[in-house]
């Protein structure tokens, strides 16, 4: 009997929760490594902040964007970074290449959900934690209308989901194209770096690329612009609609590409 949507969502949420709890317990077996992971995520978060601090110390920064506005962008990109650990392209490529995906096909849950949740959530958790602190600190030093807060949160979450599905699509596409895809993680890291700065500095072509092709701007620039009142609130509907549309496109493309999966058992 086909499960209801609510039931499937509950099962999916339960799977994510158990996967992450398990990965935390595994990670805490090595306590020193656990502590160093927290330190690593902290250093990874602090270096871009140190960069923009020095930039605004030696210059006037980027015209039209204050230090705290840029800090908000950095925090949002750090929040989006958590998806790279879930939808790790190199890991997805390895899972597909080495045949581990066969076991996901026999489970009652969606194979793509299994692909995204079977990962080490520890890094994601701590990156998410640091990023929320940075976003909160930046917002505390910025003035904005409280009416923009709800659209901001919705577009951030929507943008993160869109970027996660894009990242998963990249991993699955790399399976079809490359024998080894360690460079894909690096590609994601570079795209995230581009998302830390206002879209206008990349020109029209850059804006199109980071909005539609590699949609990090949906998770950082557009939500920040909504919150800060740099674009009108009516743009919220266009941005959210784009996030939903692109998410559907990347999900459908991922499912289509997975049809070309060759089982390791022949």
């Amino acid at each position: 009997m086909r499960q209801s949507l609510a039931s499937r969502l509950m099962n999916g949420a339960r799977l994510v929760y158990i996967s992450q709890l398990y990965s935390f317990k595994i990670a805490m077996v090595y306590r020193a490594q656990f502590a160093l992971t927290i330190l690593d995520t902290f250093v990874g978060m602090i270096l871009p902040i140190a960069f923009i601090t020095i930039m605004y110390n030696v210059s006037q920064g980027i015209s039209g964007w204050s230090f705290y506005q840029l800090l908000l962008l950095v925090g949002l990109v750090d929040f989006a970074t958590i998806v790279v650990y879930y939808a790790n392209p190199a890991r997805i490529n390895n899972v597909l290449r080495l045949g581990y995906f066969d076991t996901y096909l026999t489970k009652p849950q969606s194979p793509i959900l299994m692909l995204l949740t079977k990962t080490e959530g520890m890094w994601s958790f701590f990156f998410g934690m640091w990023s929320i602190i940075v976003i909160a600190f930046a917002c505390a030093n910025l003035s904005f209308s409280m009416m923009n807060l709800a659209p901001f949160i919705i577009t951030v979450l929507g943008g993160v989901v869109t970027f996660m599905l894009f990242t998963a699509f990249t991993g699955i596409a790399s399976y079809r194209i490359f024998s080894q895809a360690n460079s894909q993680n690096w590609l994601m890291s570079n795209i995230l770096s581009f998302g830390q700065y206002p879209l206008k500095i990349y020109g029209n072509i850059g804006a199109i690329i980071f909005t539609f092709a590699a949609p990090i701007a949906l998770a950082s620039f557009y939500p920040a612009s909504l919150l800060l009142g740099k674009i009108g609130i009516l743009y919220f509907f266009a941005i959210f609609g784009l996030e939903v549309a692109l998410s559907a496109v990347f999900l459908k493309a991922s499912e289509t590409l997975l049809k070309g999966y060759t089982s390791a058992s022949g």
């Binding site: 160093l36 250093v43 210059s59 194209i177 080894q180």
Partner: protein, 266 residues
């Protein structure tokens, strides 16, 4: 003696061929190396042009372009020997090398060198050619010569530091987090993300006593003409002292680590 050199040359050739086995991934990795300087060009163009700035800490806009292209060309000179050593210690593969008629560290250095040589021809030369043609980088043969010597010094310093980082795996069950933190800091304090002259003067002064400046800042500042030939020669002398000191430290670290290595059969 020649037979001994021949076996190392044979190893070097095998390792160099192994780097290009996955051609698609190799080409994508090369292209990705260029993305960070491209990002910095966009960011600093926005800072200089939109705020009407002509010079920041002695760097003009073209000087900044040259700086980031040159630091990107130095990427192959960052040693990955810590990953190799750490992986060999954790998997126990190091035990095999301890009973072979080949020095383990020398074998690792040769493997690492093969990456440097391949990277020099596929990355350093093309990026420097881009810099000369498009920035344009007007450097004399003397400056290119100095840059070449400083790049070799950068590799030696990086390799010796990374050997000690890699040997941490002997003492810590999982050293990856610590290695990641150290490597991020080396890049940042070595001028990989920003010229060291952009840092506040107190921090700049402290960094001038550390070896990290030779990884990126000194070679890039020499070739871009940001520091004088006399300063470059003085820096080379300091680098030589650091190389001798780090060589002694690495030798002691290896001797101490050998006593603590635990592997099957050792």
């Amino acid at each position: 003696m020649f037979a001994s050199l021949e076996k190392y040359y044979g190893l070097f050739r095998i390792r160099a061929k192994g780097i290009t086995v996955y051609k698609g991934d190799f080409v994508v990795t090369l292209l990705l190396r260029v993305l960070f300087p491209v990002l910095m060009i966009f960011v600093w163009t926005a800072v200089y042009v939109t705020t009407g700035t002509t010079k920041i800490a002695g760097f003009s806009l073209l000087g900044i372009y040259a700086y980031f292209l040159i630091t990107a060309s130095l990427a192959p000179f960052r040693s990955d020997i810590d990953d190799m050593i750490g992986s060999d210690v954790l998997t126990g593969a190091i035990a095999v090398f301890l009973v072979r008629p080949i020095t383990y560290l020398l074998d690792s250095i040769i493997t690492d060198l093969s990456t440097v040589v391949v990277g020099f021809f596929t990355l350093t030369v093309p990026i420097l050619a881009l810099a000369v043609l498009f920035v344009p980088l007007n450097a004399s043969l003397l400056l290119f010569g100095l840059f070449g010597v400083e790049a070799i010094a950068a590799y030696l310093i990086s390799m010796l530091l990374e050997i000690m980082v890699g040997l941490l795996a002997v003492y810590f069950t999982s050293y990856a987090g610590m290695a990641a933190v150290i490597n991020r800091c080396m890049s940042f304090f070595g001028g990989g993300l920003l010229p060291l002259s952009f840092f506040p003067s107190q921090i700049s002064t402290v960094l001038s006593y550390l070896p990290f400046q030779f990884l990126y800042y000194v070679p890039a500042a020499t070739l871009s003409g940001s520091i004088s030939v006399q300063s470059s020669l003085f820096s080379l002398a300091i680098a030589a002292i650091w190389i001798v000191g780090l060589f002694v430290a690495a030798k002691f670290a290896w001797r101490a680590a050998k006593k603590h290595i635990n592997a099957v059969g050792v």
